[in-house]
Symmetry: C2
Subunit: 418 residues, 2 copies
């Protein structure tokens, strides 16, 4: 392995930069960082004859910062294929996790230069596109995940969706493990749920969204996306990590519909603070690839363990024109890439909505599962309560005050406390 | 959340079983296990009105074993879509990793019933198919990854490949981050490397294999696979985790070529013994989907940190007719699914080959990168040394004895020690 430490190196605006948390195993942080740089680019464990001086001169990475266990590396852009996220990750987040000299490694951030940002499509709709689609200009969205996760047949599913829309939900999404099931056929579900969506739109005068879960083998997934489009649907959803980076990219290139990204399995990569990939880096990657809404947690206590900081860091990555999370992350210019709508979800109930908005802002989709379907009076009342809580927040009325005259909200407060 | 603990439950042969390592956070193992079972199937954090008794009766999971921190859950098969690995993982390895009540969670194994095994294609070639393709009947294969990882142009790449084949390598593979680069165009690389492969086959009289790395957005990846096929190639390789489960499945369904699976990024999921997914479970999943060769580590010390046990557990999953790793894993009948060829790789050099075979058996591809290209006399001599070491092993000659008359092996021994 050659020497790639160059603490005097100043990255330029063509370089791809990566930031890691690193602990060496039996070696110094400098040696571990040097191996990390080599393995993620041009080198290997021994002195290969075929690695010429001219290749080293043109393509060598530079470890330009070591700050305790935080390491930053600059890579010549030629090491990466533009528009190929899988290749980029195979380099920067690939073999390196398994190196023997590495005790702990976490990819904190990647900085993409302009032509790399431009080589990805980004969201087709983004925050503004979704707002245009629904004519909801300022307020957060209220949504629901149909519950139970599995078990309802197509008609029951559509009816629960209808109840949620009637109660005031803007959007309904399938659960992450509901695809094409024996007891609930994908096409039939899409048909009857869209029919009920039309009915709900007529009756409420509001534009509604439905996110059918098309997660599957890639070509089957595209067929399902086409089916939704042909059936008059207005959204698709995909489990981005159990499908994979390449499939999400394929979906972005091959549907005209907005894409909702569910992040099932993310915590296996993001949870341990010394391992894997930071959720905010994943959020950045999926903004580049081009999802329109992304589940990033609730920024508060729900059923999931996602920290407030992780959610807010992710939100910065997906909703800013130019981002900078903290000292170990990079500033990133997005060169006009649209903003992704943050989705807060996981153990939320209506009384929490103000806190979510206070932390995550108005560009947020508040998605309730149990928080709507466990309302003592049922799904519609749960949705009504969620909208009441939202309206109270938007009109600067306290929940206690609002609950005095709004019986669904009062009932929810009785169950969950204000 | 309902009660899913049923330690008297006896799984039947239709159930899908999952085995986990689990630590609760602030709750008992029983409560954590109950939440794990509910979240991975039909339930959520609160008592939803829409979860009827008949759904619970038909679809409820059963936590049927808790042994210290090891938990086994049986799921009715209706919860899963056959042939849809992404959906299966979104259930069994999805949201559950992020649950607040879970401190640590690792998916150790999944047991698939017959009709689920049959719903995936498995390897098109497998061990026997690859052996037929090459007329190499009994001995392990010797392969090389072209090094440096990046930097050679197409012609240089093809020449290094030629040297390796001439020296005795059966197969040559691209590195995991070499795709379609500015300095090395994919199509041109395939063309010139296949041309040199033909030449090497003519000159050695041996059948040779070339695994071009087609990792990319799924449809582009399929185009690259088609390009390799049309150019007369005999193999493709894909980075299975940075591409993703759905894309690998798509490749299996849409190429007639054997598939080599490189596992870059796996350690982010597999390394921590209390988190993520066991490598052997991933190996099982990719056998089901149908890759033909799979990188599983070296079962000895190389540059990677993969433990011997992890490699051997993975090997059991991919090379057995019926598998059983240990008490926390399941016996699995493969119902005729072909065996996957284990690839040992990561810091190997020729002198190690006997140890690898002693541990991993004869159905193994020994892949050398630096171990061939860092031979003091260059790539061809490195490949010769690897074949000499293999021949010595197969003929029960010690390396010391063999090195007396084989100068390339002796030179390698001088560098790395016997």
């Amino acid at each position: 392995m050659k020497n790639y430490l160059d603490l005097s190196y100043k990255p330029n605006n063509k370089d791809v930069l990566a930031s890691y948390y690193l602990e060496g195993k039996g070696v110094s942080i400098r040696e571990a960082a040097n191996n990390l740089a080599g393995e993620s680019s041009i080198d290997t464990w021994t002195d290969i004859q075929t690695l010429s001086k001219s290749i080293i001169r043109k393509l060598k990475p530079s470890v330009y910062s070591i700050n305790g266990n935080y390491v930053k590396i600059a890579y010549p852009p030629e090491l990466f294929e533009k528009g190929n996220m899988s290749q980029i990750l195979s380099s920067l987040a690939g073999n390196v996790f398994g190196l023997k000299l590495v005790k702990h490694l976490r990819l904190i951030d990647i900085k993409f230069p302009k032509d790399f940002v431009k080589s990805f499509s980004g969201p087709r709709f983004g925050v503004e596109g979704i707002r245009r689609l629904t004519h909801v200009e300022k307020r957060p969205f209220v949504g629901t995940i149909i519950k139970p996760k599995l078990g309802l047949n197509e008609k029951q599913h559509a009816n629960v969706a209808y109840e949620a829309w009637l109660g005031g939900c803007d959007l309904v999404k399938d659960d992450e493990n509901l695809t094409n099931m024996k007891f609930n056929n994908f096409k039939k579900r899409v048909d009857v749920t869209l029919k009920m969506m039309d009915k709900a739109e007529m009756e409420t005068g509001e534009k509604k969204l439905y996110m059918p879960n098309i997660t599957s083998e890639t070509l089957e997934m595209l067929k399902r996306a086409d089916y939704v489009y042909d059936a008059g649907g207005n959204y698709v959803m995909i489990d981005i990590l159990t499908s994979g980076f390449a499939s999400v990219h394929t979906l972005r290139n091959n549907t005209k519909l907005p894409i909702h990204a569910h992040r099932a399995m993310h915590a296996a990569l993001t949870k341990n603070e010394k391992e894997g990939i930071h959720m905010a880096a994943l959020a950045k990657i999926f903004r580049l690839i081009g999802v329109d809404t992304l589940h990033i947690g609730t920024a508060m206590v729900g059923k999931m363990g996602t920290s407030i900081y992780e959610t807010l860091d992710s939100e910065i990555e997906i909703e800013s024109k130019r981002t900078k999370r903290h000292d170990h992350a990079f500033s990133q210019d997005w060169y006009g890439t649209k903003k992704v709508f943050a989705v807060a979800s996981g153990g939320l109930q209506p009384l929490m909505i103000g806190k979510v908005i206070a932390r995550m802002g108005l560009d947020v989709v508040c998605n309730f599962g149990g928080g709507i379907h466990a309302h003592p009076w049922g799904t519609r009342a749960g949705a009504v309560a969620a909208r009441q809580a939202l309206d109270a927040y938007m009109n600067h009325i306290s929940l206690k005050e609002a609950a005095k005259t709004r019986i669904e909200l009062a009932k929810a407060a009785e169950k969950w406390g204000i």
